[in-house]
Amino acid sequence: MEKNKILLLLLLCILAASIIACQKEDVGSGTAIQDLFYVENQGAKMPVLMEGNIDSGVILLWVHGGPGGTAIGFQNDEFISAQVEPKYAVAYWDQRAAGGSQGSGSPKLDLSQYVEDLKKVVLVLKSRYGANQKIFLLSHSWGGLIAPAFLTEGNNQDMIAGWINVAGAHNYIKNDSLTRDYLLSYGREQILKENRKADWQKIVDYAQVHVPDYTYETSIGLNACAGDAENLISDIHASGEGLSSLLFQKKKAFSLTWMLSNAGATYFSALNDKIMFAEYSSKLYLIKLPLICITGEYDFTCPKGLADEVMLRVASTQKRLVILPHSGHICMSNEPEAFYAEVNKFVEENR
């Protein structure tokens, strides 16, 4: 009986300790913080991992790709740790139904919800680390749809110091058209040069008959071809971040199986069908923030024509386009030194 009481007491102690530990607010300061906190919104609990120099007064907020990708698991690699975090703080935010986020049974998955989430993450960052923190959005791919949706809504731009738009997809149907055009033109060129002719022929044949039609099936098919095309180009520098780094990494707040489960939740939701109609080309004129567009020369997934349009349409007076010559869609991994040098330069110019 005595043993049972001790066991029960032990269990209660563990339960209490685990709950108390969850409630403690621990806000880091200094030049090398590593904070993990969560933002709850509409049924989603989204982790934000803060790393780097918060004393700098600058926060780079990753708005990752996907939908259903991860910033915590994929973006916080050795290059950003070495080149950016000593200068600024970086906020790795895993969006709803992505990475390490956790959700109940009824959270909404549509673009307006992601925009609201982003706004709340920004408000929490300002509340937690100080209203004077300068926040730069660093969006990639699908994040490049969320960012303009956020920046063109209300006074949201007032909370942001600048936008780093990396291979952004601000207009899905235009994106698919540009992908198809690039696959056809580049592919035909390679066929004429007899460079991996059979492989390119397959891609060209597919693109030839698949005209963008606002369906996810066509879009995902062209997207897959874009990935295949990148694999055929030896001029793209190999990415340091591969499958092994995802499998064996020890990053905080990351679980590969949880990330895959979330990716499944996104894939099987209606989100992908809804975003086929999303476009912010017509609202880009509202953006007045300092802007840098960074894209890869061989990005078939979000071709550089998208960045050209952003550059043309925004009202920003400070804007710059950078095309990395040996990069595909994941240009921050293909040419990390050049990529983060441009990021740092842009932040220094606009902080």
């Binding site: 339960l15 409630q23 993990l36 969560y38 919104n41 959700g103 929490v124 996104t266």
Partner: protein
């Protein structure tokens, strides 16, 4: 909710049914007394660590005695045990999780007390997030959410192997089991987490229950 029940039943029920299929009825039924079992387990993977305590009761015990031409007798045995468990694990950076589960262990014993087991399980889970959780209202006011986490249904199955000790000591089994556990709902979908369990089962000799041991006799020529 209906979807959750279907998902969990499919995950746990079908394999359990297949594993537990038996032939014709027994020849002999012997009433036995079986001690309750206290289980202690260590849960681990490359990222999580935890523990589990459970109380188990044997539900069935079937033996097949096969007599061979040579006069040797081969005995195979199957047992099922129902456990109620309290489980805790900490996955740093993801969540801490408390679960109450019921699991149905199906053992198939081989020579020298070694056995394989299949385990479907069902339960409820309450996670606690490992960091401060903020909520922002429509006016932009930021507040801290206490006890942030999720209630989910949990289910899954385990495959393992272990050793049964026939001596009179309290330690009855040690086993290693791979558990694939799912949680529902997570964004209207399932989330899954695999882990390993190092299990020990101890008999509580003062607390015993009845179980019918069913013995089937069989000859190698196929006649009873």
């Amino acid at each position: 909710m209906k979807e959750a029940v279907i998902v969990l039943l499919l995950i746990t029920g079908l394999p359990a049914f297949l594993y537990g299929c038996n032939g014709p009825g027994p020849d002999t039924i012997v009433a036995q007394r079986s001690p309750l079992l206290l289980k202690g387990s260590l849960l681990f993977s490359n990222r999580l660590i935890g523990g589990q305590v459970g109380l188990g009761r044997m539900l069935s015990w079937k033996e097949k005695h096969i007599s061979k031409h040579s006069g040797k007798q081969k005995i195979t045995s199957k047992q099922t045990v129902l456990y109620g468990n309290m489980v805790y694990y900490d996955h740093p950076g993801l969540h801490r999780n408390w679960m109450l589960t019921a699991q149905y262990d199906m053992y198939r014993f081989n020579k020298k007390g070694f056995y394989t087991e299949f385990t479907p399980l069902l339960g409820v889970s309450r996670t606690f997030l490992p960091g401060t959780t903020y909520k922002v209202d429509d006016a932009g006011n930021v507040s801290i959410l206490k006890l942030a986490g999720n209630w989910t249904l949990t289910g899954g199955f385990g495959l393992g192997a272990g050793k049964y000790f026939t001596n009179s000591g309290p330690l009855k089994t040690i086993s290693l089991k791979l558990i694939t556990q799912v949680f529902y709902p997570n964004f209207r979908f399932i989330a899954f987490k695999p882990h390993l369990e190092l299990n020990t089962a101890w008999q509580l000799s003062k607390m015993q229950t009845h179980v019918n041991k069913r013995i089937k006799l069989k000859y190698s020529n196929g006649k009873k």
